[in-house]
Every structure is written in structure tokens, then in C-alpha cells.
């Protein structure tokens, strides 16, 4: 007949509106759960606002300009001019459309949206502090919670993102001008993507990496393709040096100081320094101690294959729940969490999570490398197809790179793939499907691929592994 504070009760509260959180919220609502999504910043999270999407917008524009300027081999001559202000406005428009879409989708599915920062008050209550002064607080009682707070760029000593010349990846993607000289600290995938982009947009880029190569997470023959192209673009690399600090110089620029392990110091003059040394999970706003939940030593919330934390009714998905920090992994976990919350028998049982790096050329991988397959106890069977033997690659004037398929020798089940090629991020989808379906080399080789396309390289690599490739020598 009558009731009390009704709207403060919900079946599921989702904390964080990124690709893990909003997907979880929509799926939970689709399953009939009363769902509340709390977002402290912008819907879509780091991915849509400060990561994947804006970086791809910049990268595409930089590629267009770079390709046009370097097409003389095809008889095309151009000297494109990039208006960085207009580019940034276009990028912002793309981001706005996507984040607006996320908000509309949530609302259309009946997700209750609350803007603010959520912290646990007890095992079934979160307190939400609204953004902005005097916006107040509110409390939401929940049956189940899905933590999807994501991650943020890691700061290193001596470099404070609050200082204007020091860029995080987020700042770099909000840039309205291209710096003349840019020092990039870190040659991981974010460092390499942005180095390439800003080099193509006209910056003189110096990359400072503590380790001895670019993209240390990838195999040498994969990363070396990207490295060679970066060299061609005029990017300078210094390895074995760690950035130690920076200062303003008399002419209004900055000097970035580095140090080798044995104490040798160097200085690089620049206009901006981009620190891209990794990302760290965000748990400090949640007041996890109120529910006796603690992150592990790496700061992640450990979960089981149902995306549950140590508390059965509290889920964690996405970057906060562990590596790899990838948007599509977050979404997949979000789906699992929502379905388990709805009482379904869902589980995260993916065989492999594909990953893409939007360098030039792109890198994409899924599943096991040859070494990993061996380590796992398989007898690996490997097939490769170099890009230079693919007709479409030649017509794109892209001959650097290759496709490699790793299978197990017994029955030829596909275990993984590594691709360095233009559109590698798209090509990997087929390999991911093969791994996930338990497809065999025969299956890939027996599937007719469109000619002339880059995708034929997958068929060829599978045939090569079977010792029967047509367009390469089977040694």
C-alpha cells in the first residue's frame, strides 16, 4: 500500500560506465533486473573518451595525411596540411556521438543513470557523491554490485600530470596543437601508437624506453616491423634509459632528464613530454574496506570465472579485474557478470582474447605464440605468409609484415595467430573465431577467402603450416 525510500533500492548497481560497466548494465536490465549505473565522469569510460576511440580518430587522420604525402611511388603527389584544431573538433564530435549513444542505450533499456562517485557503505549499500559543489550525496541499496571502475595512466616520480608540459595519454588525445618536439616515455603499445601518430602529424618524436626494445610484450620479428617503420618516420629511440625528471628552460620549452642504470644522465629538449608507462586499476575511490574486500598486490580485484570477487554478490569486470586491460575483455566480463547476477549459468571461458596495436603497420594477436604453445606442452605447428606475396598488400604498397598461424601438430587445432599488417586489427577476428571454435588448419585452408584481399594471407598461412601453400615455398 505505501512505502518508504523506494527509488534508493536496486537489484544491481554498476559502478563505472565504461565498456565493462555500461555493457553489464544494459545486459542486466535486459534480463529484467532493476539496474542502476553510476558514472563519475563520462559515459563510455576511458575507452570512448580518452583512449581507444579518440586515439583511433587521430591515428586515422595522421595516416590519411601521411599516405597522401608519401604516395609518389604511385604517381600521386600531395602536401596535405593538417589543421589540428579542426581535427580535434572532429574527434570530439565522434566521441560525443558515441558517448551520447551509450547514454541513450542505457536509458532505452531502462537503466537508471546516476552521475557521481560511488563508495561502499556496507555490503548492500553504496553512497554516491554527486560531482560538483553542493550536488549532495545519495544512497543506493543493492542486491548485487558490479565494480567496473577501470584504470588510469600510471604516473612516474618527477612527472606530474597536473603540470601542463607533462602529458598523460589522455592529455595527448585532448591536444589542440602538435608540439614541435615531443618526448615519449615508454615504448609499449600506447607509447608507440602515439609516437607514430604525432610523428605523422609533424612532431619530432624521441622515445625513451627503459628496456632494450619497442613493444617488449611482442615477439622480436613482430615488433621489429613496427620499429623499422618508426625509424623511417624519423622517430628517435633511446633504450636503457629511465626518465628521471624535467624542468622548464629559459626559452619556455622543457628539458627532460633521463638516467641509465649505471647513472649516465642525458637531457632531451622538447615542448611536451608524454608519459605512457602503463595503466593502473582504480579501486581507491570505492572504500572497499567497508565490505572487507582488498585488491591483490597488483591492485586488481581478483575474480573467478563468473566475474565474482570474494563476495558472491559483488562482481568486478574490466581493467579493475586484471590484465589484459582491454575494452572488449571488459565487455565480455560485463556480460558474464550481468548474466550471473540474473541467475544464469554464464561463465568467462574464452580460450583467447584478441589484442590489437594501432601502430604502422598494425599488430594483432590472439591465443598462443609458438613459444607459449611449446611451454603449454603442445607440439606446435607454425605456418607463415609474408605480406609481400599477397596481391592486395602489393596494391596497397604495403609489403612489410606477415601472418603467422600457430596450431598443434596432432590434429591441427588452431591455437593462436600473430599478424603484422595493415588492418591486422580486422584480420585477427577470423583467427580468433578459429581458436574459439576449435577450428583446425584444414578448416581455415578449406574456407574460400575473397580475392584479392589481405584475408587470403590467413588461408595461405594455414596451408603453409600444412606444407601445401601455393604462393610461398613450403620449407
Amino acid at each position: 500500500m505505501v512505502m518508504g525510500d523506494i527509488t534508493t533500492g536496486t537489484d544491481v548497481v554498476v559502478i563505472g560506465g565504461g565498456p565493462g560497466g555500461y555493457v553489464a548494465a544494459i545486459r542486466a536490465a535486459q534480463r529484467g533486473l532493476a539496474t542502476t549505473l553510476v558514472e563519475k565522469d563520462h559515459y563510455g569510460g576511458a575507452c570512448l573518451n580518452h583512449g581507444c576511440i579518440p586515439s583511433k580518430a587521430f591515428i586515422t587522420a595522421a595516416d590519411v595525411a601521411d599516405e597522401a604525402a608519401n604516395a609518389s611511388g604511385m604517381g600521386v603527389y600531395a602536401d596535405p596540411e593538417v589543421d589540428m584544431g579542426e581535427l580535434a573538433a572532429w574527434k570530439d564530435d565522434v566521441v560525443d556521438r558515441l558517448t551520447g549513444g551509450v547514454e541513450q542505450l542505457c536509458e532505452a533499456n531502462g537503466v537508471d543513470l546516476i552521475e557521481g562517485t560511488a563508495a561502499f557503505e556496507d555490503e548492500h549499500t553504496v553512497r554516491i557523491a554527486h560531482g560538483g559543489e553542493g550536488q549532495g550525496m545519495e544512497t543506493v541499496e543493492f542486491e548485487q554490485a558490479i565494480v567496473a571502475t577501470g584504470s588510469r595512466p600510471v604516473e612516474i616520480p618527477g612527472f606530474d600530470f597536473a603540470d601542463e608540459p607533462v602529458w598523460s595519454s589522455r592529455d595527448a588525445l585532448a591536444a589542440e596543437t602538435v608540439p614541435d618536439d615531443l618526448v615519449v616515455v615508454g615504448a609499449g603499445y600506447i607509447g608507440m601508437e602515439l609516437s607514430t601518430t604525432f610523428a605523422k602529424l609533424g612532431a619530432d618524436v624521441t622515445v625513451v624506453e627503459m628496456l632494450d626494445d619497442v613493444l617488449p610484450a611482442y615477439e622480436e620479428d613482430v615488433s621489429s616491423v613496427v620499429r623499422r617503420r618508426a625509424d623511417d618516420l624519423g622517430i628517435d629511440f633511446t633504450f636503457g634509459e629511465g626518465a628521471s625528471g624535467w624542468e622548464e628552460t629559459s626559452d619556455g620549452r622543457i628539458a627532460v632528464h633521463t638516467e641509465t642504470e649505471d647513472g649516465t644522465e642525458s637531457t632531451y629538449e622538447a615542448d611536451r613530454v608524454l608519459v605512457a608507462v602503463g595503466r593502473e586499476p582504480v579501486t581507491d575511490t570505492l572504500e572497499l574496506e567497508e565490505i572487507d574486500l582488498a585488491p591483490d598486490d597488483d591492485g586488481f580485484l581478483r575474480t573467478d570465472d563468473r566475474a565474482r570477487t570474494d563476495l558472491d554478490h559483488v562482481f568486478a569486470v574490466g581493467d579493475v579485474a586484471g590484465e589484459p586491460m582491454l575494452a572488449h575483455k571488459a565487455s565480455a566480463e560485463g556480460i558474464v557478470a550481468a548474466e550471473v547476477a540474473a541467475g544464469e549459468n554464464a561463465a568467462f571461458d574464452a580460450r583467447a582474447i584478441p589484442a590489437a596495436v594501432f601502430t604502422d603497420p598494425e599488430i594483432a594477436t590472439v591465443g598462443l605464440t609458438e613459444a607459449e604453445a611449446e611451454e603449454a606442452g603442445f607440439d606446435p605447428l607454425v605456418g607463415e605468409m609474408p605480406l609481400r606475396a599477397n596481391g592486395r598488400a602489393l596494391t596497397m604498397d604495403e609489403t612489410e609484415g606477415f601472418v603467422r598461424i600457430v596450431a598443434e601438430a596432432d590434429a591441427g587445432f588452431v591455437l593462436g595467430a600473430q599478424i603484422v599488417a595493415p588492418e591486422a586489427s580486422e584480420l585477427i577476428a577470423e583467427a580468433a573465431l578459429a581458436v574459439e571454435m576449435g577450428a583446425r588448419l584444414d578448416d581455415l585452408a578449406g574456407t574460400i577467402h575473397t580475392h584479392p584481399t589481405l584475408s587470403e594471407t590467413l588461408l595461405e598461412a594455414a596451408e603453409n603450416a600444412l606444407g601445401e601453400a601455393i604462393h610461398t615455398l613450403n620449407e
Binding site: 500500500m1 505505501v2 512505502m3 518508504g4 525510500d5 523506494i6 527509488t7 534508493t8 533500492g9 537489484d11 529484467g32 533486473l33 532493476a34 555490503e123 545519495e138 570474494d310 563476495l311 558472491d312 554478490h313 559483488v314 541467475g343 549459468n345 554464464a346 561463465a347 571461458d349 574464452a350 580460450r351 603449454a376 606442452g377 603442445f378 598443434e408 596432432d410 590434429a411 591441427g412 587445432f413 574459439e436 571454435m437 576449435g438 583446425r440 584444414d442
Partner: protein, 526 residues
Amino acid sequence: MVEQSFELPDLGEGIAEGELVAWAVAPGDHVEQDQVIAEVETDKALVEVPSPYDGTVTELHAEEGEMVPVDYVIATFEIDASDAEPAGTEAETDESSTPVDAGTVEAESAELETAEATEGGAEASEAGGAPGGRVFAAPSTRSLARDLDVDIETVEGTGAGGRVTESDVRRAAESASESGASEPASGADATPSEAEPVVVESAGGTKRERTLAMPATRRLARERGVDINDVPASEEREGEPFVTPADVEAYVESGGSAAETGASAERGASASAGAAAGGTGAGTNTGDAGAAASPGGERVPYRGIRRTIGEQMAQSKFTAPHVTHHDEFDASGLVDLRAELAEIADEEDVNLTYLPFVVKAVTSALKEVPYLNASLDEEAGEIVLHDEYNIGIAVATDDGLLVPVIKHADRKGLKELAREIDELATQARERSLPREAMRGGTFTITNIGVIGGEYSSPIINYPEAGIFAMGPIKKRPWVVDDEVVARKTMTISMSVDHRLVDGAEAAQFTNHVQTLLADPARLVLE
């Protein structure tokens, strides 16, 4: 013989402890694996704890009524040396899974059997022998295995290269359910004294071994003399049947209780006497009754506002002993005055209904009877007499009743009240009420007159102390100077929390309200 200690298993949902309500066994008793040995009540549910072993109970380490933390050793068993190994292994496995779930234990042993059975097959060991436990199967096949509770790593793959196919999984599930089905049967044969006295099939098929229900529901089932495991569940939680009080009542009405009374008495006896020999006298098959209790039909999820209302109401009704008071008064004066004032109000675009008058009268009465503008702080053991008069108004919406609150009703005039009520009701119907507008109420008024009926027994908007329901104003027989005449009267109903006030205060309150409303000129003085 090997001694094994048994810790209270994980009770689920992050629950750290539970009250050991009753032991079903005593030292010296022989127990079968999966036999219920104790009942533990958490704030969420009453859980039956099954024995992980076949063996003899040597010692119980907790008293009935004691709060026992999870992982605390509650019993010691003596088990046969030959059984020690598998039982021990199982116990360890149990720690990571949910040992109180008898279904899981069954599934595990079924898997074990499948694994053993397939080890002989050369092809199967090839598939199972893939490094890192890798099974080659499509995501849809893996998902099917999950749904059928089949461990895909133990399934023999007959697809190309040993790939596990959908039919492989289905075959494995069938063979597992066959071996699983034989288990409870053989268990019952082995220990007739522990066999369920009545074999009742619930609507879903075989009788449940475990049922989720709130403690209050279990109490209700006990009072009605039905075994909660026989009651068809209308809901599912965490994949388990969840029985509601309504389910119990429906089952009782359908005749489920009659045959069950004997059985439940017997259960009670056997529980209290430890492992008493159970008779089999009441062996009537009430399967049909059980099935009839749950006729088909549309199933609407119990969620959102509907559930919030339900939970709120259940809490109120089960916490606050309600006493309801009814009365009627001559409302002719009120009708005249409202008609007169409404015209004036209309000029200012204010829709003056009877509600603002009632709000004023009720607020005045609350000042007379402060214990009705109060709530009970059970934790502190104090009655809180509120110093604000915030009146909640129940508004019917498509989704259920919402109760926006008029803050400081005592400081507002009729016009202001009318305006605010209008606004809040509109917002409630449009579902655009700000959360704040539904908080801080100290007393609630509901208007039952709109839809019809004379009186009601409203449920208090807990933790408030009372609720006032105004009935319809219409012509009713009324005695004036020993003559029965037609007069416009209003009926009123009011429920109060008997812990805070008695019926007399309720009457005092309604008298005050009636005095003011019967002679509404007095309201102007308020």
C-alpha cells in the same frame, strides 16, 4: 578407522556465521554422505548442512542455538579407513565449491564416474590429455556443457580430430544423470530409517533436497504443517528454487498440508531425538496435490517497485504489530466549506481537494498525540518523537504506490498544501519524483476513497508509527435527533504500531481529526 573433523561450510553470499538451530544427529549416530546433519540459520535462509562422509559421528562441537562461524569445526566423524581417501578428497574439493549444495556433490561424483569410465577409451584419453586441460570445442558447446553441469574436460570428443561436439556433451549429461539418479535411491535403500517418510514429487519432478526460503517462510511452513521441500517454488534464486509465503499458502490451500501433517510431526520428532527410527505410516503419495498447487500460467518477474513495496510491506507487517481503528463522521460541514473555498482557490488555479484539509487535521492531531509522530529505534531501545511533521501521501501509479512527502506540513496553509500535493502526485505518476521528495516522512495518509470501498486496514509505512486512510465521502444513513437522515459522511481507517501506542491513543487521534473535519472552521484556527 580414521577421524575426520568437519568445518561449517560456506553458507553463501558472503555470510560469515550462522545460528546452529538444530542438530539432526547425535554422537554415536551412523551417517551417510549427503545426509542432513544440522540446520543452520543465517539472516538470509535456513540451510541444511549435509554430511560429507559416510561414518559415525563421534563428537558435536557446537550447541543448538550457538552462533557458529564458517570454517569452525562443528563435528568430528569416525570414517572407515577404506572410505577415508575419497571422502577426504571430496572434503577438500568442497572447500572451494559449495558443499551445502547437495546437488553439487552429486554432480562431482557423477563427473568422477564419467572420468573413470572414459579413461579406458583410447580416444578419450587423447582428448582429455590435451595440454593445459585444453578441450577443443565451440563456445556454444562449452556453454551447453555448463548448462548441463558437464565438465567438458572429461567428455570424449567424437568430432574431427577429437573435437567435442554438442551431442558428445548431451551424451555425457545423460550418462551422468543416470548414475546420479541411482544415488539417492541406493542411499534411501541403505538406511530406511533416514528415508523420507513421504515421497512427494514437487511440480518440477523429483522431491527437492534443499529449498531456499526466508526464515519467516520456513516458520510459516512449519506452522502449516508442510515440508518446505514439497512446496512448489514460484521463484528461483541463484539457480535454486525459492519458496515464498504465498507459495506455502497456495500449497496448503491445494490440500498439501493434510497428508503432510503426519510427516512433518515425524520429521520434528526425528530431528529432536537425533536419529530416531522413522515410521512409514504416512506414506501417502501427495504428488498430484503438489502438482495441482502450481497450475500453469504466465510468470511475471517479481522485481523493481513491486518487490520493493512487497519487501517494505512484509517488513512493516512482520515487525510492527498493527492495531486498526475505524470510524465515521458527518462531513457535511467539510463538504460545504471545501466547495466554498475551492471556488476561491480555483481563481488562483489551485485545485483544492479534501486532502489538504485532512493533512491539516492530521498534523494537528499528531501534535496532540506525539507518539504517533514517532518511530521506534529498536537498536537504541528508544522511541524517537520527531520534531518535524512530514506527511507522506500515498499515490497510485501504474507501477505501484509511491509516497511523496510534504515536508513541514504544520507550517503550510491549505492553499500551499493543495499546490504541493498536486505537484507531487503528478510527479509520482510521471515517475519523475526526485529521490529527496520521498524521504523523511514521519506519518502517512492514504486516500482509499478514490477507488471504492468503505474501510481498509492500511499497513504502516515502516518505521512510522501510524497511517491514516480516508474513505469516500458519500451519503449514508446518519442519526440526527433520533431520526435517520441521509448525510454526507466520511469513513476513516487508521493503523498504528501497537508497540508505540495503544488503541486508546488511536481513538484519541481519530477523535481529534474528526472534531476538526466535522467543524472545519476550527481548521482555520490551526
